[in-house]
Symmetry: D2
Subunit: 385 residues, 4 copies
């Protein structure tokens, strides 16, 4: 490993995403040993010292901190990975960028478009490497979809539709806010399913099908009041429990998006489908190793949706793993994002989605929420001078 360059990572946040990212770094030496940059888990930071210490031991971080400002002040740190709740992304990211750190930020970029804008400006002013963890792009079947589309096989695109359906908040006794439940507190999260789930769908959609021009949306909060864990009081729920929107893409195709945490029977059913003149594609996170593909030029009697088990070595990322037929899981998307980030350092290229690209996703979310509030069509505006 002598010629390898070490990239010292500091992780801020030790929740669910802290685990997925840590695992992403830990797998690199085993599965992507040929990358020039290899991550070193230098510091982990979270408010509760005891828990952070346990986390550090579990994942092999060298150092523990409880104040993120000390972390970004540490000159040995090359890159700061932000896994904290959404309300802290902007402050940490901007401070880190100003210190010249690379920044890897969990999605969504921030609570609002305005917050996001300050982040993009700071990161671009600092000129540091940056990426946002829209990890689903890096599942092999999704990357294969991108390759197929880029090959031109679909022809003119007519339709794009995506869903992200969950059911974990149906129980009206589930409290809101606080540990494990900050996603239900609008002050912390910025929004409900729009920022949490639809942002994934939008990121993938823009990547696969280009920019979204305008939207009309509808949101709903099915359970109006819930006990807040931090105040101990029953309070109004301000997040969107469900959100759906229609849109037009710049390429002339029509879009249909929906997300909810009230779709009984679905745990994390992220699906998308894209219909082109000559071919169509669809995918489903619950069967993440498959891509379904329909090609109209097939012999007309033998034409049908193909169920591609995306596990052969020639498929995206798969030469790093096992043999044909043996699938990978959700966590591998994070390993791939780390690998792509490290390779982008090698190649001195941006690692998509950058903050600027994630800002466009944020702009769509903002237009969606505005449309739902106003009952009007809204244009998506993501220009930054």
């Amino acid at each position: 490993m002598s010629q390898k360059k070490q990239l010292n990572i500091a992780l801020i946040g030790t929740g669910f995403m802290g685990r997925t990212h840590s695992n992403g770094y830990r797998r690199i030496p085993n599965f992507f040993p040929d990358l020039q940059y290899q991550p070193v888990l230098k510091t982990v930071c979270s408010r509760n010292e005891e828990k952070t210490r346990a986390f550090a031991e579990q994942w092999g971080y060298e150092k523990v901190e409880t104040d993120w400002k000390k972390v970004i002040a540490d000159s040995s740190i090359d890159a700061v990975d932000i896994c904290t709740p959404n309300d802290t992304h902007a402050e940490i990211a901007i401070a880190a960028a100003e210190r010249g750190k690379m920044v890897l930020c969990e999605k969504p970029l921030a609570r609002t478009l305005a917050e996001s804008k300050t982040m993009v400006e700071a990161i671009e002013k600092a000129g540091v490497a940056n990426t946002v963890w829209y990890n689903y792009r890096r599942l092999p079947a999704v990357t294969l979809a991108k390759q197929i589309i880029d090959s031109g096989k679909l022809g003119r695109i007519f339709h794009y539709r995506a869903n992200f359906l969950q059911d974990w908040t149906i129980n009206a006794n589930l409290p809101q806010g606080g540990a494990g439940l900050w996603r239900m507190d609008a002050d912390v999260a910025g929004s409900g399913v729009t920022g949490d789930l639809l942002s994934h769908c939008i990121d993938t959609a823009i990547w696969l099908n280009g920019s979204i021009s305008n939207v009309t949306a509808m949101t709903e909060t099915f359970v109006k009041e819930r006990m807040h864990q931090l105040t101990g009081k029953v309070e109004k729920v301000k997040i969107d429990d469900a959100c759906a929107f229609l849109c037009r893409f710049e390429n002339g195709s029509l879009g249909l998006f929906e997300s909810t945490r009230y779709a009984r029977g679905h745990k994390a059913l992220y699906t998308f489908e894209i219909n082109g003149e000559n071919a169509s594609i669809r995918w489903d996170l619950h069967d993440l190793n498959r891509l379904e593909y329909f090609e109209n030029s097939d012999d007309s009697q033998l034409r049908g949706w193909r169920s591609i088990h995306v596990t052969d070595g020639e498929q995206p990322y798969m030469n790093k793993w096992w043999v044909p037929g043996l699938g990978i899981g959700y966590e591998h998307s994070f390993v791939h994002q780390v690998a792509d980030f490290l390779r982008s350092l090698e190649n001195n290229t941006p690692c998509s989605p950058t903050f600027r690209e994630a800002y466009e996703t944020q702009a769509v979310c903002e237009a969606v929420l505005s449309s739902a509030a106003a009952g009007t069509w809204e244009n998506v505006n993501f220009a930054i001078k």
Copy 2:
């Protein structure tokens, strides 16, 4: 058959729907021999005498007409079945009702809400038995869905979504209008996919989930000009090739509907899904003998979407057909609608959907098209004094 009452049927129109209805009548004596009313195929009427004669011979109609006015003037006719293009529904239905004929009208009721209103008024003034051929309700799996919902097993409803996806008009060289293609001529059809396909989705949705309050919609015509078969000229295409809308139901649930003839790879993919607090249901016309069902009260480790093969004798309509595991097809929905119409005569009850019920579907279609034109949310108004 001596005690049976004969119901003399006159069929107007000999296209695709003329065939499905004729088959519906023909199967009754074999599969529903116990019904008191048995249909007699008295007269078939269409403009081309030779073709109509061939149709009559094939299906066993006793008499051939080329002028529908003679048909409704014929006092031996009990019921008039209208299978002609949409622009003629109103005139024929109203005239038939005024003559005291029962009327079975192919969907959609008419081209516009205004036309439909005159039909409802005429039919109700005449007080004759009536029904509209929203046949998909009568597939056993769909009727089972209705029974499950009526049982209360779903609890509070959160979401309803439906698609009707086809791909037969992608080819830009396909002409519009005239024989076999009147569905692409807005003057004849009234609209494109909205009246032709979404109307099915809306009918089922209202039946299963109640009235729709308001909508926001988007339509598109992907191929702007096509050769018109009747004029021989390239003309502007005025139908909607695709239509999607968001809506709110009166029960507080959210709806998402989409239809297109540009979804490469899908022939007649009518699907719907309904998510309730305690259970969810979904269905797909391409596998029409199955209903998928998720029940949250199942043991949590053994919970999963159930794939119900709706073929056992205790399932709706299935005691008339074969044995468990042996499926039926599309055409059976029409046989069931005939059977239900005949039974409603026996019981002196309305045969749903009646003209009035189909009028509500028409009102949703109208609100959808208005919304798409204006870019605004539109209320659904289906009140008739």
Copy 3:
């Protein structure tokens, strides 16, 4: 219909198969009006006069008989269709053939190979048109499989496997023998699942993949004693409840077959799969409108099992029915067999499977049962001088 030739049919037997065959004849004028021969439902015969009369009325038979000998003595009858239990096939078929009647015999041909042999000899001596109702061949997806194989697309064949799984006799309180349950009485049926279900699998297999050379088999009777409906006594069950066998085909491929009535959760799950050097095919009766197809020459990244919805007009038989995407059902296989029989009369060609072809299937069944009894590999011998 003046130039049409009428084919006077006599149906012997009014059980489940009597219904499927009657429906087969009844649909011909509506869906295959161009056939020169059109069936006329002349006579139906069964032992119980009242029930037979009701059956005749329901299906439109002109005449009722209770003695099959009178039926075959009737010179107005052109063709005798045998739907009675297996123990009567030979006597009726031979007598009918000797009278010069065409014979359509329900499968299996008979209880034993010896019985079958007398039938083949009689029918060939008489030189009359004949066919055996192995109806599943005539489902469009299965016929498409045949066309693909005949095209050579599969290359050298390595594997053939088929299952026919049911679960209707698990209940130990189900009686055996008598009305509705003769299939559980070995004296009447000849065997259990081997003759009833595996015979279908074998017929399809020989049609698609050629002759079977030798077999090793295993049978089991899970419930050893059941009340016999005719004697009122608990008697030993002599049929095979389950049967599985391995075999070698003459083309060098390996076969694997299994049938049971004890596969909880499966109603009529007839499936087959064939693996060739260049392509593979599989099919499932529970989704009978689909054929799955894998073609190795597809681009390696885009290769996957294709789910062909076999409903387009260019698919076998489908130009007679509806439009793309709209499926047909189980019963249509019988309509197609009638149509093919009538066309074979037009063309003066045999209607496969003939008695002789069904005799080969019987020989495989016999080898299977012998092998299971002896615990040895058995050759299939279907030579008739």
Copy 4:
């Protein structure tokens, strides 16, 4: 980690299985940090020093060896993990056991039953902890199947069927023997698909359904001669390319097993199904996070195969990973086996399958191959004094 006990591991063999096992050990501190024993990757051994050194660096082994005898002579080693080709399992395992090392042996235990017997005797004489890597048991869906069966929900078992289908050796130009292809050399592997693939099916079957009494089998070698990589000559292929067998279990149920490397379109399609009186289960390695389950006691109109997405935290092993809906992959089965081995040390219990249990699987394989050779039913004899 102070109170943790370190378990020093030596890995022999650096092929595909060397990677899966190494990954298994590496994930333990991150995902099973609460286990008392934590693995230390002490030594890796393989014949090619350079490659072994690279492997050691990639996976973090402290020491490199090229002679396995030195490894087992090293007193710092607690456990020897054997991932070499089958012909070396016995010698290494016996020597390691004699030195008092724990032994984890890749499947199948050995080439023959006789070889296996010497291994069982040595390991039991030494009294060391041992296990065999039949990893598929440890996929959550498969372990859930075991729990369901153990709960008694299936009732009396009637049928067990399993397949393991691949297609990677269809190409007749693929050589045999030598690096990457020793599985095609009978002298090294012992057998073809029987030892490589059917052994997995048999291990799972015995675990889920108990012992197999007797078998009748069929094998085939489709490509008779291939270039041998080590000799450079075209030589006779002595392995079984395909193998199928019927069997009876001691509990009275019937079994059907098949494996091949000539099933075009299937990469690693390991499936099993078990039919009981009251419920049935099926599973498929290509969708490894799902278990399908049918329960007859469900309401008869709502009964259907349930598709259980086995990802909730209460499912076997899943509380260690992510959140509901987010699947894991093939590699996790090895992590689970390591975890179970370590926990068995904590609890001082055997880690199933032990050498003795794997010996039973070997005995079935031997009976299968004997039956195929002799054309007779063979009893399974796995008694060891």
